[in-house]
Symmetry: C2
DNA sequence: CGTCCTCTTGAGTAACTTCAAGTATTGTGG
DNA sequence: CCACAATACTTGAAGTTACTCAAGAGGACG
């Protein structure tokens, strides 16, 4: 549960005690090979899992094979607090790299909420963050040019990787093919390639064996119109507002 | 709270008692003129409100004026159960028509959850539904053609309007300008116009003074690839899975 | 070492946008 | 209730962005 703990404690004060609590919630680990499905659309699942290692994607495929990546999942990301409805999930999740997940005891999550733990507030915050990322995805793909989209996505992914400690100040491992980037941004992979090469030629980024380096962050932000509001980086409150009611 | 009750009881069995409970939660109403903002990005709000009458949009505007509509809000739609974080909201909501909202006492929502009311399950379901709609929006705008997008949106809006009793079997009031449709689908309004005229010429739809009629549903579904999985129309369970735990 | 997948680049094309100008519709103040 | 203004709709023509097709190069993997 390290990545989750790191993510939750990035802006929220969690104690060592909280760390132990989190570790205790983890039931068992599971590994997936690159490309393997972790959850398939239409399945019913009452399980909550956390990405422990590696990258995954939430995605939906149309009948004719067109696929849309909804969002990337990094270590510390959770699927899915909404699971309590016991309904069929409406999208799939696949491993991008080798992925390790931890299945979490959902009862223990619930008791965290019942107890008013600050972990619960942090978990709630992650779902707000996730929704913010989804909304930003809609704006990005709906109203930005290809160039803006690519630059914007790079900045977002770097930031998210950095939060869980998987990236340097201006560089990161980006284990994502241009095909996936295209499926995320609603573009053809050929065009994504051209845009990336363009950004490289202009000296904004550099890519070398899966490591992406941001060479000119200021220009990258300028061309993408990137801002971080949607990530809700102020972090969770120590308690959810409704917890105060119970006191 | 009529529209909310209607929406919740569309697939879930709610008693008259539940109806009264819902009515009792409503604190006060508020009206908005067309175009007026109901909530502005960056505001903090700890209020939950329900659309009682009229249509609204969730939207985000970029610095240079480009606007993306995230989603339409119909009577019975809720903003926003995520509010308990007491954080700044990351998008705005504006009235499209004249809109009446009801502000809801968030404490009473919480006690519904505490009591394990079936209303709580239904409310949770609406948030799952809303997320499904957001995801479908990403797929639609990312991987469908303009023609598919327009047809798809029409079918979705009709379905949602019908659930709250605001539409006939194949016709509905669609109080939405082509400009808004364009901002929702990530297209120019000129192109939306051409696509709509095309669909009319081919006899798939008809529009007359704000009333849209679906003339050939089968073809409309065929050209759009529409399916309703994302609306989670099986509806909420009577109880959330975690409520069983508490028993 | 060969196969498969990803990346790269060019050339031609299709989908959608922008610009522009005119028409209908809706709202508003006298 | 009418006249006028403002907004939304419609259509054409030209331009641009991004797509498709194609073919070769570079890497990863068994």
């Amino acid at each position: 549960m390290q990545p989750l703990f790191r993510r939750l404690s990035y802006y929220s004060k969690l104690t060592d005690e909280d760390g132990k609590t989190l570790s205790g919630m983890s039931l068992r680990d599971h590994s997936y090979a690159p490309g393997e499905d972790i959850i398939r659309r239409g399945e019913k699942t009452s399980q909550v899992f956390v990405i422990k290692q590696g990258w995954a994607v939430r995605y939906i495929t149309l009948e004719d094979g067109r696929t849309q990546v909804l969002n990337f999942m990094l270590p510390g990301d959770i699927f899915d607090l909404q699971v309590f409805l016991d309904d069929e999930v409406d999208h799939s999740v696949a491993a991008v790299t080798k992925v390790t997940t931890t299945v979490v005891n959902s009862d223990s999550i619930l008791s965290l909420f019942a107890q008013g733990s600050s972990i619960a507030a942090a978990l709630w915050w992650t779902t707000v963050q996730e929704e913010g990322i989804l909304r930003e995805q809609i704006v990005r793909n709906g109203r930005r040019t290809a160039r803006e989209r690519v630059a914007h996505l790079i900045l977002e992914l770097h930031r998210r990787a950095r939060i869980v400690g998987d990236a340097g100040a201006d560089c990161m491992e980006l284990p994502v093919s241009q095909i996936l980037i295209a499926d995320c941004l609603g573009l053809s992979f050929v065009h994504v390639n051209r845009v990336l090469r363009g950004l490289e030629k202009e000296g904004l980024i550099k890519k070398n064996k899966g490591v992406l380096t941001i060479l000119d962050r200021a220009k990258l932000i300028e061309t993408s119109g990137y801002s971080e509001e949607h990530l809700h980086l102020n972090g969770p409150p120590r308690r959810l507002s409704f917890m105060a009611v119970a006191e």
